[in-house]
């Protein structure tokens, strides 16, 4: 995380050189008769912060799960760096460079904060069971670098007590620990699922700063949030879902003024707008 390359020109508009990182290509996802995602199509570009918003039950988390390989799309496909995501084992998708946090916190509660982050760092470690058993040099090397990296990341997200069990951390710290654990897997794309849920305004503020800091280290961020105001403050672009369909996409200002989006959020029938 130290090789931060601060992005001085915070992009007011979409970045000029748009290198696609993740392509959601006309994805439809059905569960039995329920259409959770209906022909959703958008692209995430390298280095941006993309907001994925929509009212409750719009399919944000489903879309998120499809991107991280939890569900395979019924139709269409999701490509990361040009490679298909679905059909791979989930831990391999993580190694491709997609990391995520969970809407309802899912840490390893009885491991320390440090160990939680080290599990993430282990994603790229290669020490085998044999080398761990006999304490071979590779084991020591990876153990040391993993530990250092975990300490760095805990400092980065602002957790002071690395030895504390995850379950004993405060709610805000647990949310930040999830982010640190995800970052430990060295992702190119970090997906945050409602990271500000349950936060007060001050905490939301420091979270926004953290998200920008993460982007400045070169990580692309996908942010799910249904608090519109929060999303407006940090994202470069926004995709809006409603009932599993994409109803808008664009710059925050454009999206804010989009009648379909206003209708979706205020509950006015779309055709009245």
């Amino acid at each position: 995380m130290s090789e931060a390359a601060p992005d001085t020109t915070a992009p007011e508009t979409t970045p000029p050189q748009r290198e696609a990182l993740l392509e959601v290509d006309h994805v439809t996802l059905r569960f039995g008769g329920v259409v959770a995602l209906n022909d959703v199509d958008f692209t995430l570009y390298k280095g941006e912060i993309l907001g994925l918003i929509g009212p409750n039950g719009a399919g944000k988390t489903t879309c998120f799960n499809a991107m991280t390989g939890v569900y395979a799309p019924t139709q269409g496909e999701i490509r990361f760096k040009g490679e298909r995501v679905s059909g791979r084992a989930r831990h391999k998708i993580t190694r491709m460079g997609i990391a995520r946090t969970f809407q309802n916190i899912r840490l390893f509660p009885e491991m320390s904060a440090l160990e939680n982050v080290m599990v993430g760092a282990d994603a790229h470690h290669k020490a085998s069971v044999i080398s761990a058993l006999f304490r071979l040099p590779r084991f020591w090397r990876e153990e040391r670098s993993g530990r250092d990296r975990a300490h760095d990341l805990l400092r980065f997200v602002g957790i002071e007590r690395p030895g504390e069990l995850a379950r004993n951390l405060s709610y805000g710290e647990q949310r930040r620990l999830e982010i640190a654990r995800a970052l430990a897997t060295s992702p190119t794309l970090l997906c945050l699922d409602e990271p500000a849920a349950g936060f007060n305004p001050a905490e939301k503020d420091s979270l926004l700063k953290l998200i920008r800091k993460i982007r400045d280290t070169g990580v692309t961020v996908l942010l799910i949030e249904h608090d519109m105001r929060l999303v407006m403050g940090v994202t470069d672009r926004i995709v809006v879902l409603e009932f599993g369909k994409k109803i808008a996409e664009g710059l925050p200002a454009e999206v804010r003024d989009n009648p379909a989006v206003i209708a979706a959020y205020l509950g006015v029938p779309t055709d009245a707008a």
Partner: protein, 378 residues
């Protein structure tokens, strides 16, 4: 409310905390003293001075040997159940596979009649059990929780039922006799082979040595990415996978390592008994090992050791205690009943086990808090 949780939790961890806070040298000396004590224990001149700690009715060295192979089993099962959180109800099946592999490879009475020495058969037994663990785990570790428990239970029964068939290679009830003792060329002070029929002490010493090495190995694993992966799987398998843990691979490793230790234990058992048949592998033994692990504190290596020691040693000890305290009734007949009562009392007052892992201690503290929120404020 919090004070109560802290109290329960501190009770769970006080031993660990006290141990951790001791200076390093003190801990090493204490461990060394314990190991020396354990090596001295089966000698008559030593245990005779231990007041009522020794067993009165049964041969101390034999009981200690049986206890030690049981401890080895518990250490192996603890990897599977305690660390990786996989409920294995058929662990004794691996013990049987190990014992039968040794028997078949060494005994002149076996259908194979290859007559290997015991020492050569041990690595083969470990390899065969490990492979059988992988074969069983391959398809079944995709299952979770109760389903895995049922499949493993079935596995142990399958092994036992096959062994009970007269037509099979295991000879059913007639069993396989004349399994050679370990290393006959090593002579004791009396010129006889060190590993003989009468004296159980060498077997105990051998098993104790193996236990020490197995514990060191398991400890190394649990303090590495392997152990972190196991605990992560136990805590939240989906989250572990999404954080890049190849869960299936590590579950299979836990299973294979557990199986290998079980097989090793079986090989020692066969070498000592020099006769095994299908009656040696009753289902209750699987349950007993599991009870030992839970009793001691799943997820803690030393907890499993203590749990197994109590589970095996206590009933044997109770067998001889009746005469000492001057009871007319034969306590030996009630020893399993007494053990059962101890287990129940234990589960009521200390469900997290004697030496719990950090996780269990806290988890049970939480549950109490939920169960008795009013009392908790006191």
């Amino acid at each position: 409310m919090n004070a109560h949780v802290e109290k329960v939790r501190s009770r769970g961890r006080s031993m660990r905390a006290r141990w951790d806070s001791m200076p390093r040298q003190v801990r090493w000396i204490a461990l060394l003293a314990l190991v020396v004590f354990l090596y001295l224990l089966p000698n008559r001149w030593f245990y005779i001075n231990l007041w009522y700690f020794r067993t009165m009715e049964s041969d101390m060295a034999t009981v200690l040997f049986e206890t030690s192979f049981f401890v080895l089993l518990a250490v192996g099962l603890n990897v599977v159940v305690g660390f990786a959180g996989l409920l294995d109800l058929g662990y004794f099946g691996f013990f049987a596979v190990g014992a039968y592999t040794v028997a078949l490879l060494t005994s002149p009475e076996s259908r194979f009649d290859v007559g290997w020495p015991w020492l050569a058969a041990v690595p083969a037994a470990v390899a065969v059990t490990m492979i059988s663990g992988v074969i069983l785990g391959g398809p079944t570790l995709r299952l979770r929780g109760d389903y895995l428990a049922i499949v493993t239970l079935g596995f142990a029964e399958m092994i036992r039922l096959y062994a009970a068939r007269n037509e099979g290679i295991a000879n059913g009830q007639r069993g396989i006799p004349e399994i050679p003792h370990p290393v006959p060329s090593v002579k004791g002070s009396d010129g006889q082979a060190l590993f003989g029929v009468v004296d159980a002490r060498p077997y105990y010493w051998l098993t104790l040595t193996i236990i020490i090495f197995v514990i060191l190995g398991v400890r190394n694993l649990t303090r590495s990415r392997v152990g972190r992966a196991w605990v992560a799987i136990r805590e939240d398998e989906d989250a572990a996978q999404i954080m890049g843990v190849p869960t299936f691979k590590y579950k299979l490793w836990a299973f294979a390592i557990g199986a290998a230790v079980g097989g090793l234990s079986g090989a020692l058992f066969a070498g000592k008994q020099s006769f095994i048949n299908s009656d040696s592998f009753q289902l209750t033994n699987s349950i007993l090992v599991l009870a030992a692990v839970i009793l001691g504190g799943a997820g803690n290596i030393y907890g499993a050791v203590i749990g197994a020691f109590i589970t095996w040693y206590l009933p044997e000890w109770v067998r001889g205690i009746g005469g000492v305290i001057g009871l007319e009734i034969n306590v030996a007949e009630y020893r399993i009943l007494i053990f059962g009562a101890v287990l129940i009392v234990m589960m009521i007052f200390r469900p997290q086990g004697i030496l719990p892992s950090r996780r269990r201690a806290a988890e049970f503290a939480d549950r109490r808090q939920e169960a008795a929120p009013t009392e908790a404020s006191a």
